[in-house]
């Protein structure tokens, strides 16, 4: 059994797909790409794909992940005209090489809808913590058109200057009050051609702060008329590896120019 971890993005009109829709697209894609996916046992076997933190309908992301279990491939077929030799790909994968351009990542992207592109595929060791368990923080970008960056920055600073950020929610039929403040991280604000861009880290433990919750906590109706009009992008998910903050799969750092274009 080999477990691969896949990093992909979700950009453009596919942002309107739900987490479940994306999961189904990915399941079909691994089958279409010819990956020897492992199946669960039982009355109703399912492909063994493991998904990370859900991304709400309407949000974009440059940092989505899922894990997939593969059964070990049979011997290489010398007569195979397969453009990607699955066996050597897997062997390289198992040997710890990043499976890059021209390989699995491209093959998966080619069978996924436009806007969902696989950036990297790496093998992960048995016993690696699941994405759900290990991701502690996500970095989010909020884009607000026709809003001045300094006003947005002031609202965020005001929020982060508070000792407590109380939110009330219904849990198991009971109204409970929670403090979001410990889950709100560093922020920065800048102006782009498409409006003010606020970047902030939001924690996921013990529970994820939902981006709309954060927008509501800003309490700035003069800036945010309808939260549905705010464009939201997840840029990073962070795990803690021996005290070091890192991504589940890190990518080579893009040039400043590329970063600007992507935002």
């Amino acid at each position: 059994m080999t477990r691969l971890r896949v990093r992909y993005n979700k950009r453009g009109r596919v942002r309107f797909l739900s987490h479940r829709d994306v999961a189904r697209c990915l399941e079909r894609a691994v089958r279409r790409a010819g990956l020897p996916v492992a199946y669960s046992q039982g009355f109703s076997p399912r492909a063994r794909l493991h998904f990370g933190l859900a991304l709400s309908n309407g949000f974009e992301s440059d940092a989505e992940f899922f894990d997939v279990d593969l059964v070990d491939p049979g011997p290489a077929d010398p007569g195979s005209a397969d453009p990607v030799d699955l066996r050597s790909t897997m062997e390289r994968a198992v040997a710890g090489h990043l499976v890059g351009a021209g390989g699995l990542a491209e093959r998966l992207s080619s069978v996924l809808p436009d806007g969902i592109d696989v950036a990297a595929v790496v093998p992960i060791a048995a016993g690696t913590a699941s994405l759900q368990d290990s991701v502690e923080v996500c970095t989010w970008q909020f884009r607000l058109v026709e809003v001045p960056a300094d006003a947005l920055d002031a609202a965020a600073t005001r929020l982060l200057d508070r000792d407590r950020v109380e939110v009330t929610l219904i849990r198991k039929g009971k109204q409970v009050s929670e403090d979001l403040r410990p889950l709100l991280g560093e922020h920065s604000t800048r102006m782009s051609s498409e409006g003010a861009v606020l970047t902030i880290d939001l924690g996921t433990k013990p529970r994820s702060v939902r981006p709309v919750e954060f927008l509501a906590a800003l309490d700035a109706p003069e800036l945010i008329g309808n939260v549905a009009d705010v464009r939201v992008l997840r840029t990073h998910q962070w795990i803690n590896l021996d005290g070091q903050r890192c991504e589940p799969i890190s990518l080579p750092r893009p040039s400043t120019h590329a970063e600007e274009r992507a935002s």
Binding site: L17, R31, P45
Partner: protein, 682 residues
């Protein structure tokens, strides 16, 4: 110009497309509505239409539209087939549209935006033809709503040259009269050939400067299978029809349906669409045959799609293997009106179940695949097939005995004995199924309470059979009210009133109260009543449909949106009687609203079959027995295309029982032509 291949047709961002897209205006609205994924298109297999095709006057553009939500409409195979055929035409383009849900419709109207296509997000009025599939009567108000949302006058008579031609196809078009006011042309029967003939007529009209609208409609009315309602005049004699006569020169007195002789010549859809969001029937579908001659008398599909035309087994194998590889689906449905009757079913099943390698040597499929047969025959043979097919993943098992007693099943010609059903469920429970689903109709001709209660008795006995294999076997019973349909032997039958249907349902609910393990579901009798109204209505219902639509009565298929009061008010407002339209038995000589249309079936055949029904006489399946001249083959010079001359697993109905009524079953006559039986609704 060559047709682009599927690989080159991946959806591209709208900014690279030619003008006409309203995506930029639409996008901000999508963030505010439920399930926005159903409006973005981008399905795998979707063709990016090539609007640059340089026919004189521009390419003929079709917008194939389903008058219900994307989730219901996208899987419609008919529209997918037609869109592919049009796309292969060198001078035509096709896109698709679906009814936006109520929230998006409100946003569109508030922002002055029209109905749009999902491929290019182009306004519907940009297209030359809007082709609607009508499969359910309760979508008629959505049809009107979508025409209006497209920015087109809802009444055909008020349209000008600049407006699209509104076209309808699908099973409801065998009586299109209730929607005759709203449509320009109606297509009867298989669309595979006629869609290109219509395209060619419109192409010529565009090339010659797109002149008078009547000119193109006249040319279309002369295409076999095409009915142009404006070319016919209906005269009335009080509440009855006197005649329906052509008033334009050269149009046929009777419009005949189209039938493709050889399904093997039409291996469509070649690239079934794989939606990005969940839809009904979300799986690969391969049609193994079209048409059915089992002769169930309540079943319109089995009457109007004759004769049986099987797809060659080799082609089925290829379509399944290639389809699964291309789509990544892990489920395939072999579709038809009764798939266990497919001549090569045993071979195909064996291969798919992995017992034998496919004949084309294509090796195994990617991962476990489950195969479903949407219509299972009620016998052990059917269950055996299902068990073999569903070794991978098991879905539910559904049987449709349709009626509770053998007498009733003789009347409707669904010749399944009680023992056949018990054999089937025994086979199912013994092979691990814990729950089976049974479909029944109530309100059938000659039905008595003995027949109705027979449903509960059958279900209870099924559970008893299951106890021999399982601790707590379950049965889900689904009961629908019977709606008589045009071109069936029951087209003359007065439908049960909603009150009577409700009484029967209550009777059954009481009977089921003591049956442990049984669960009963039923359809709303008042929705059944309106289905009946539209099923056999005439042109005088046009204003009724329009009134209901104007008062917000859309999505009538959805129980939470169905509004009986709107229909009742509109009928009263236009001085029409629900009883007369729905509950009245028709007489043999009566001019029916569809008497100027033909599904090939002789009037005499249908009337004789109606008499046989009342006499409880069964009729064998003509696919395996001599012809009894219903007209569907002889009238069009075509024949059954069946690979095997003997029925699979023996027996005309798969069970080999006698077909005539037995002395111990007593005929129960119905009164004909004089009012409705049962209690009336107000």
């Amino acid at each position: 110009m060559t047709v682009p291949t599927a690989a080159a047709q991946r959806f591209e961002p709208v900014r690279t497309e030619p003008s006409g897209s309203m995506w930029d205006q639409l996008e901000p609205l999508l963030a505010r509505v439920e399930k926005p994924a159903r409006y973005i298109g981008g399905e795998d297999g979707a063709v990016r239409p090539d609007w640059s095709r340089r026919a004189p006057g521009g390419p003929v553009s079709w917008l194939f539209t389903y008058p219900d939500t994307y989730e219901i409409g996208l899987p419609n195979q008919g529209l997918q087939i037609l869109a592919e055929i049009v796309t292969e035409h060198p001078d035509a383009v096709a896109e698709r549209a679906y009814a936006p849900w109520i929230d998006l419709e409100a946003e569109l109207r508030a922002h002055g935006l029209p109905l749009f296509s999902v491929e290019g997000h182009r306004p519907a009025a940009m297209f030359d033809l809007i082709g609607f599939n009508l499969s359910a009567e309760l979508t008629y108000t959505n049809l009107v709503n979508l025409i209006d949302l497209a920015g087109i006058p809802v009444r055909a008579a008020e349209r000008s040259e600049q407006h699209p031609l509104v076209c309808i196809g699908g099973h409801c078009t065998y009586n299109p009269e209730p929607v005759a006011d709203f449509v320009d042309l109606v297509v009867l029967g298989d669309g595979e050939e006629v869609v290109s003939e219509i395209t060619d007529v419109v192409l010529e009209w565009k090339a010659s400067g797109r002149g008078d609208r009547r000119e193109v409609l006249l040319a279309l009315a002369r295409v076999p299978g095409v009915y142009v309602p404006a070319a016919y005049e209906v005269s009335y004699d009080g509440p009855r029809l006197r005649s329906i006569e052509p008033i334009w020169p050269g149009v046929p007195a009777v419009v005949e349906k189209r039938t493709i002789a050889d399904l093997g010549a039409w291996p469509y859809p070649k690239n079934q669409l794989v939606p990005l969001t969940e839809v009904v029937h979300d799986r690969l579908n391969v049609e193994v045959f079209r048409g059915c001659t089992r002769g169930c008398r309540f079943c319109q599909a089995g009457m109007i799609t004759r004769p049986v035309r099987e797809r060659p087994a080799e082609q089925v194998r290829t379509m399944v293997a290639e389809g699964l590889r291309r789509t990544g689906y892990d489920e395939v449905a072999l579709t038809s009106l009764s798939t266990a009757d497919f001549s090569n079913i045993t071979d195909i099943v064996g291969e798919l179940a992995g017992n034998r390698p496919p004949a084309d040597g294509s090796g195994d499929l990617c991962g476990p695949v489950s195969v479903s047969l949407p219509s299972l025959r009620v016998d052990a043979f059917g269950v055996g097939i299902a068990a073999e097919l569903q070794k991978g993943r098991r879905s539910g098992l559904t049987f449709a005995p349709e009626a509770g007693t053998w007498r009733m099943r003789q009347v409707i010609n669904k010749l399944i004995r009680d023992e056949d059903l018990y054999g089937a469920v025994d086979s199912a429970y013994s092979q691990g199924w814990r729950r089976v689903k049974l479909y029944f109709l109530t309100g059938l001709p000659t039905e008595t309470d003995v027949d109705t209660l027979g449903i509960a008795e059958l279900a209870a006995n099924c559970i008893e059979v299951g106890r021999q294999h399982q601790r707590s076997p379950g049965v889900t019973v689904s009961v629908g009210g019977f709606v008589p349909k045009p071109f069936t032997p029951f087209q003359w039958f007065g439908q049960n009133t909603a009150v009577e249907l409700q009484r029967k349902i209550s009777l059954l609910r009481d009977a089921f109260r003591d049956v442990k393990g049984a669960q009963m579901k039923w359809h709303d009798p008042s929705a059944t009543q309106i289905e009946g109204l539209l099923s056999r209505g005439d042109r005088r219902l046009g204003p009724v449909i329009e009134s209901v639509w104007r008062r917000g009565g859309t999505f009538q298929e959805w129980s939470e949106h169905f509004r009986l009061d709107l229909w009742a008010d509109a009928m009263a407002e236009h001085g029409l009687s629900m009883d007369d339209y729905v509950h009245r038995h028709r007489t043999e000589d009566e001019v029916l609203p569809w008497s100027h249309l033909s599904a090939g079936l002789h009037h005499d055949f249908l009337w004789q079959d109606w008499r046989d029904a009342l006499a409880e006489v069964g009729l064998p399946d003509c696919r395996w027995t001599p012809c009894y001249d219903c007209g569907a083959c002889t009238g069009y010079g075509i024949e059954h295309v069946v690979a095997s001359a003997t029925p699979p697993a023996g027996g005309s109905q798969g069970t080999g029982q006698g077909l005539s009524w037995t002395p111990d079953s007593r005929p129960v006559p119905v009164e004909l032509g004089v009012g409705a039986r049962g209690r009336r609704s107000s």
